[in-house]
Symmetry: C2
Amino acid sequence: MSGAAWNRNRLTEKLGIEYPIVQGPFGGFASQRLTAAVSNFGGLGSFGALNLAPEAIKEVAAEIRALTSKPFAMNLWVSMEDEGARRSDENAFRRSLSPIAAHFAELGAALPEYKPYSPTVRFEEQAHALLDAKVPVFSFIFGIPPREILQECRAKRIVTIGTATTPDEAAALRDAGVDAIAASGFEAAGHRGSFLRAAEDSLTGTMALVPQIVDIVDVPVIAAGGIADARGVIAAMALGAEAVQMGTVFLSCEESGASRLHHEVFLAKKAGHTGLTKGFTGRLARAVRNRLMEELNREGTETLPYPLQRGLVRHLTMAAEAAGRADLVPMWAGQSANLGACTDVAAFLKSLVEEVGEIAGPVTEWSAQRRWRSASA
Amino acid sequence: MSGAAWNRNRLTEKLGIEYPIVQGPFGGFASQRLTAAVSNFGGLGSFGALNLAPEAIKEVAAEIRALTSKPFAMNLWVSMEDEGARRSDENAFRRSLSPIAAHFAELGAALPEYKPYSPTVRFEEQAHALLDAKVPVFSFIFGIPPREILQECRAKRIVTIGTATTPDEAAALRDAGVDAIAASGFEAAGHRGSFLRAAEDSLTGTMALVPQIVDIVDVPVIAAGGIADARGVIAAMALGAEAVQMGTVFLSCEESGASRLHHEVFLAKKAGHTGLTKGFTGRLARAVRNRLMEELNREGTETLPYPLQRGLVRHLTMAAEAAGRADLVPMWAGQSANLGACTDVAAFLKSLVEEVGEIAGPVTEWSAQRRWRSASA
């Protein structure tokens, strides 16, 4: 339809990638294989490192580098615990355990025991490990890293991608000088990375969020949330995004670290109805609306501060996974889970860029002109 | 960019309009002038008639016809009261009045008195008035009209547009044989018209909702929610929609029936932060997050069933409007309120279709081909 190189823009230049397609980082389900597969194709693979100790971060970075010579991102959570996590006591633990206690008996698993919370890993230490490893791209959610970390990224030519769930957060990231901003819409899977207001008060649909952020920042915007096929990619570009971030569709790929149960839910197209809950980890996140979510979302149900609730629910998850009980496991998924079908990463991406390429040239050209017009207005 | 007539498709054919742009109907703020202005331009003006008695519906239809010879829509709510409305008693009234009672004193207004609920108007009577008036287009939310009403629409060549907030609702509308489906995303202003599950469990972002509905229905889909400028229109078309419905941006036009206070909020760009509440009417709806919303959204606050809560809050609204208190009035707005700027309807639409026309040709062609490919796959 047009000879314009739709896939090349200032973001792909800066990142050194072929296609403006970012694989969303997923905390517990990242895999070196998936990250490398996306990067090898020419997109930006990402690895969610939030649970990794500094040494493990260096190891994973080395492992990814053994699988690809292309740029990739590692992702951290700037804020690693909620207020109140350190004060949370055994009584709170018992209150939050009680609504799920019967499931442990049902699964023949021992009830978890209370242990006082002590943080195992700090963001700053993780960030320094990333810097030491000189990962090509450092992406983050739940806040803005301290100034000295961002400065060191610039000094080491590590590209930074911050995550905004509202225009206000995008403005804060812009002022901090990040290189690109992921606009994370309400539709997205997993945690809402809000950091200025409560996540519940920051829910913005991708359709509304992307253009409002494009209008107030001068760095490239990466649209995230609800994008699972070529239509979503073109829509995001029309809204002014210079790249997309897709999470759920990659989670469904064979290469992801998702469990067998989780894969089965995607394959059976049973991930079509999702909801938001704090019940799985203590922070608001999107997953398939299953029995566990319904129970934990019931009015009056108490939830421990992050990451204590996550620790509590993980005990149940392990037993439920072993028993093949998808109704009792957090099944992270975005609102377009039923749209995307990915068995093999390279095959999925090949078909995606072919379809996108049919129309993306004129759309990206129009979008770029429009941004230019409004910037000079 | 292309000579393709982006603005002509099977929906514009069926509706007999020039541009696939629908003005969202707004219950309390509809105006004959606005409806006619949009239709005169070549879009589809809509008039929210939910509060009108059958005789008034006929009068308004005649008034609109006096202002335009073009097609227009009138919109009804299929479900007009919530379960429990008839059983709701004076005690419930007092409990729901109590969190806002202080504002009446503050505004020097008398406290409203309890009156037992008696429905003033029934959907079936309203629908028959629309049929008698032979309005060109009958659009509706909150359900599906009885089969005989839809049959009469077909017999009278009245085009029907149903509203879906989830793919399941779209499937139900498709099975009922409506002519087009408005896919109403989470971002949209006003009431969530959900009718299969609770509105709270049906919140789907426009980016995720539109393609999932396009995939399962064979009638044209109208994308609604978060669309306020050319970018949103193009994005919607990329997602497979054959038209867009824009609400908030038209609400901000001089021609709309919105109050002076409401207009001022839009003009001052103070509608950027919206939220959902049942507190304003008893049904979940999106408006600017102001003091009244915060208070009514507080945990434990009781809300009367629709339409009783609406009646209660209207007393406060009238006093607050008179006192110029925007913080105590429901200020309906969608999540893209800050994107759109419309002072004059015709000028806004002229500039919109010019900008859309720069790129819509190839995008709509691609979309149509894609729909055709997937329908024949």
